[in-house]
Point group: C2
Chain length 316, copies 2
């Protein structure tokens, strides 16, 4: 069978019309939200979506609402034609690619100078653009800590754009990668708290053959940094091994990561072992936790994580 | 024709199922969100909804998320049977009354002690209940000022519950009373910013024969305060008359309200003339503005407002 060419939709109303027509035909609609520049990790999300839905929409939109003005919005890579080819290579393909131009353009004649500043300079590229968008969704506890520390407006931007996409695409199922672990948990909680009728599926991390977690940002690593960045996954495996050997003291485990990544020339943003549900720090492992790491290699910030489903057996 | 008895639904999934069935039949679904204890003002909203929709849902739910622990949640009046009778009296009636028990109960086994405190004691009855709800929607600029000053968590609570109701009922049209002017503008902006596919209709203020704006809180006024509270509407009419006489200086107009209400024994919370769209204070009237008033009579806080669609004609 020839690969299926997806319908490309850029208009919100057209997107919703398609989705509503599908729903009235009894189809289950799956959404895979992406920022484009797709790699094998994204294609895994699409394959996962096929397990839960009859028709699949992939959104490709680099969301200015989750970037601070000092972050890498302008250099975020893109390759729309390549993305379409890759999506067509997945068995079953995808039905729709939703590729809007600007989801914050409300057709205002004049720019709004009333830039919403929260706290001290905590402003996204949307606020900076002055388009008058002023509604933000926050998952107040889960957005704190981990990536929330160094990217204070990030999860506000993610929760808000995902709300917008959910309201435009109206899916029944949405698939998120567990590489962005905090994001995945935030979206799950948001869906519960705001009563979206959408099942959120978490898809396991896809890695390169050498273990590096796939990311659109990987292409921006120098050859040397690309090699050094392998230390992240190596450090996770060291921790795995240490836990299997009976080490449950999180500070000790965390130090393994810091040492391994730092020795390889990386700069740790954070390395934390937290509860899988509420993402609160854990001192000793005695239940389902996740080790989350963020580190800089050159000008590129990478994240990775590993779930540890360890239950101390006191009968030993 | 016998009055139509509405279907009463308390379950979220059942509510959404009804709505989706209607949509697939091509019906336009109207929603009138209320906190119950209905009066003629609410019935006006239902009549307005009939102009825009084929089937009408009215939600009756007193939202703890918009009440501070020190506010009047526990004494908020209710009369469910009376509400149903009143809704049946409207020509065409209503199709569904959505009457959930607790929209913040997510079936957690244990209460969540992780109470989200923002700033200093800015906590709603939902946070206080410790049910673990932690996702809030804010319309950052419009929520400031006017009622936002004395009720700092109010509009966060309103925007969040309306988002929840929109996601459960999935209406095409929702009708809000312009008596809650700031709320109406906030919901309009939220719908635009979050891409809800819902038309927001503002319905004019309904008044008692003597001019008092209808409110569920009016029953809690003493006979004397009920009489004194007429000063609010009287003050609006004074301003109307002054504007017609050429007075455009907002400070002068505002003082008419303060004087009239204070002399009647009311205590002004605010009296402001603001732009109809962005709700920012205006010094001189030269375009569409709205005079918004909030005042206490005894232990009851009342609000009222009047749009002034005045355009200075420089050719005069």
């Amino acid at each position: 069978m020839a690969p299926k060419e997806p319908l490309v939709i850029s208009n919100k109303d057209e997107m919703r019309k398609w989705s509503r027509a599908m729903r009235c035909q009894g189809k289950v609609i799956g959404l895979v939200p992406t920022m484009g520049y797709l790699h094998e990790g994204h294609l895994t999300l699409v394959r996962e979506a096929h397990k839960h839905a009859n028709v699949i929409a992939v959104s490709i939109y680099v969301n200015p609402g989750q970037f601070s003005p000092n972050e890498d919005l302008s250099t975020y890579p893109s390759d729309f034609d390549g993305d379409i080819r890759k999506l067509m290579s997945v068995p079953g393909g995808v039905d729709v690619v939703f590729h809007p131009h600007n989801l914050y353009d409300y057709g205002n004649d004049k720019k709004n100078s009333n830039v919403a500043i929260e706290g001290d300079k905590m402003v996204s590229c949307v606020d900076q653009g002055g388009l008058g968008h002023e509604t933000w969704v926050r998952v107040e506890n889960l957005q704190k800590g981990l990536c929330g520390n160094s990217r204070p407006i990030f999860f506000r931007g993610v929760a808000t754009i995902v709300t917008k996409l959910f309201n435009i695409v109206e899916p029944d199922v949405a698939v998120f990668g567990k590489k962005d672990y905090q994001q995945w948990r935030i979206i799950q909680r948001m869906v519960r708290d705001l009563d979206f009728s959408i099942k959120i599926v978490g898809s396991e991390i896809t890695r390169e053959n050498d273990g590096l977690a796939m990311s659109s940002r990987n292409v921006r690593l120098s050859t040397k940094d690309r090699q050094n960045a392998l230390s992240i996954n190596k450090s996770l495996l060291k921790v795995k091994s240490a836990v299997e050997d009976g080490q449950v003291h999180c500070e000790k485990l965390r130090n393994l990561v810091v040492q391994c990544v730092t020795e390889a020339g990386g700069q740790i943003d954070y390395a934390e072992i937290v509860d899988q549900e509420n993402l609160e720090k854990v001192e000793f492992i005695n239940g389902p936790v996740v080790l989350c790491v963020a580190a800089w290699f050159g000008k590129v910030r990478l994240i990775d994580n590993m779930e540890i489903n360890f239950k101390m057996d006191v009968r030993k």
